[in-house]
């Protein structure tokens, strides 16, 4: 993409080709809005967000649905127009209770669209559990895919599953999930590069928060990080990797190394937790208690990072600053790349004709001024006045 000075045409919730309108239909605009020189970009897509504003997606409460609604509504102001509610490692009972309450739905004035759930765990490595509770970790040695299905209950509204590929029988599981159209992500794992490559060959396409909860890069065994430049990726496929660019999870230098090695695979995620948008202090993350101090979020009493409280637009700005990349590259990392990861770039993540009209108006410093879903303004900065 490259930025150009253009008019954006929208009709019935989709981006319209004005040339066709002009010549074929002899139509012209019914309403014209002056965007005051803002940058118009596709809406952000957050594929890893655990909750926010006091809501924890991994906690089964009576009003779980209104919790999801609250988060989906609040993140509009961060520029997020679609997201994947993420559940951390939890006991099966929680999945059985909560998953049926997450439904895939379009966004609108009520909030950002839900693309499906992201299940991060419980099939992850003990050594790299991070903030996930050890007693809930599981393996699928016995029944492979059936074990997974039994744990989660239903995969109907699941979009992404994060697992550790070094676990026995992971290849079968990855293949089965991929066959069902579910994106498989590698994370919270001690896999070496060949195990990771094998997982990719069986269908894995994503890496959950690169660098965090995996073996560090080593020059004789780069581990999962090596996927960024691996030559064993099947032709025509691309490995994407999530990065939490809040300035805490990854040193800016590491962020730059990853970006330079594989710029087209970088997907910005917030990995935000319930404390997002709230005052510092204690909050929950599934079965754990988390302490928030500024942008730092640790398991209470430890120095283990657990999620973040950064907003998506903060991540975009920090990413652009740290890497010095172009504005459009930073915006693509939060919109086009997640759309490509989920295979929905024909509908979302771009401003191409006939795609969903989910877009943002940003000022030059990349602060969101207004958010639009399906062509309707669903949020705007008060001072902006449009």
């Amino acid at each position: 993409h490259c930025p150009s000075r253009e008019d954006l045409w929208v009709r019935e919730g989709k981006i319209l080709n004005p040339e066709k309108l002009f010549f074929d239909e002899k139509g012209s605009a019914d309403i014209q809005l002056d965007c005051k020189d803002s940058i118009i970009a596709p809406g952000f897509i957050d594929v890893q967000i655990n909750g926010g504003f006091g809501v924890d997606f991994s906690l089964a409460t009576d009003d779980f649905k209104s919790g999801i609604d609250l988060v989906s509504q609040k993140i509009l102001s961060h520029g997020v127009t679609s997201f994947c509610p993420t559940l951390v490692t939890s006991p099966p009972s929680l999945y059985h209770q909560v998953l049926p309450q997450i439904s895939i739905r379009n966004g609108g004035a009520h909030g950002a669209g839900i693309l499906g759930a992201h299940l991060e765990g419980p099939f992850i490595s003990k050594e790299k559990k991070g903030a996930h509770p050890e007693h809930c970790l599981r393996t699928f040695e016995e029944g492979a895919f059936q074990d997974l299905l039994a744990t989660y209950g239903s995969l109907d509204h699941v979009r992404i599953v994060t697992l550790a590929p070094e676990m026995k029988r992971s290849s079968e599981v990855i293949q089965e999930l991929t066959k069902r159209g579910i994106c498989v992500s590698l994370g919270h794992s001690v896999a070496n590069l060949s195990q990771a490559e094998e997982a990719v060959q069986h269908g894995a396409t994503f890496i959950t928060h690169l660098f965090n909860a995996m073996l560090p890069f080593h020059h004789r065994d780069p581990g999962i990080v090596g996927l960024l430049t691996s030559d064993k990726i099947p032709a025509g496929r691309r490995v994407f990797y999530g990065m939490i660019s809040d300035g805490i999870h990854t040193n800016p230098a590491a962020l730059r190394i990853a970006h330079r090695a594989h710029p087209k695979g970088l997907v910005l995620v917030t990995d935000a937790i319930a404390g997002l948008g709230l005052a510092p202090g204690r909050h929950t993350l599934g079965q754990q208690v988390v302490e928030i101090d500024g942008l730092n979020t640790y398991i209470a009493g430890t120095k283990t990072l657990s999620g973040s409280v950064a907003t998506m637009d903060t991540c975009v700005r920090h990413f652009q600053e740290a890497t010095g990349c172009s504005v459009e590259a930073a915006l693509e990392a939060a919109s086009l790349h997640p759309a490509q990861l989920l295979g929905i770039e024909h509908k979302k993540g771009t401003l191409n004709y006939d795609t969903d009209a989910d877009f943002l108006m940003l000022n030059d410093a990349l602060y969101v001024q207004a958010t639009y879903i399906a062509g309707e303004q669903v949020w705007r900065q008060d001072a902006w006045g449009m």
Binding site: E6, P18, F22, F23, K26, S28
Partner: protein, 254 residues
Amino acid sequence: MKLIILDTYAQASEWAAKYIRNRIVHFGPGPGRFFTLGLPTGLPREHPESYHSFMWNNFFKHIDISPENVHILDGNAPDLQAECDAFEDKIQAAGGIELFVGGIGPDGHIAFNEPGSSLVSRTRVKTLAMDTILANARFFDGDLSRVPTMALTVGVGTVMDAREVMILITGAHKAFALYKAIEEGVNHMWTVSAFQQHPNTVFVCDEDATLELKVKTVKYFKGLMLVHNKLVEPLYSMKEMGAEQSQAKKPYSD
């Protein structure tokens, strides 16, 4: 004719644009009173570089013209000659062309009126000369086999009926054509020469396009630039209130 010589391509373009702007403002178009701008026709519809895309991206999307007021010859029409005849009728219906703006080919053609075209021709189907096909190859990735060999075009006679004609000529490769058009006789081998018999013609060119002209011709017209530049000054109706007033000038006539 008025021969306007500017130093560079950019300056020639700007002068031409301001001139057209002034003409439109001076004409004062309104509902039912059309300023009919004539432009030469181009390539077939479906090609990405097609005339429609070109006109949309370079012109229509930047102005507030109503789509009903845009008339483009349709190269995909079932009966091409009927399409051409209908086009002539539409021109009449709009009150005739007020200003026709065109370029010149290296072989001296106006629109697609190739060498040998009748100087009184009307809108019709034309077979393109090899020169034109070569020139158009750049729109088809240099693949000559894909360049259309026929086009619908307004005729020389059609353009002669316009109340004013502006021809833009830039670049050294057009120099010989310009020489033939204005310093030699009227000749159907260099169809632009027909405009020597039009009462209101403006040729706008850059320095390079004058390379084949007599030094005397170039000096004469450059000397007139002081007068000609008054044609592109902002008209009184376009100046701010309270700013220095100047009289509205009717276009200078030969």
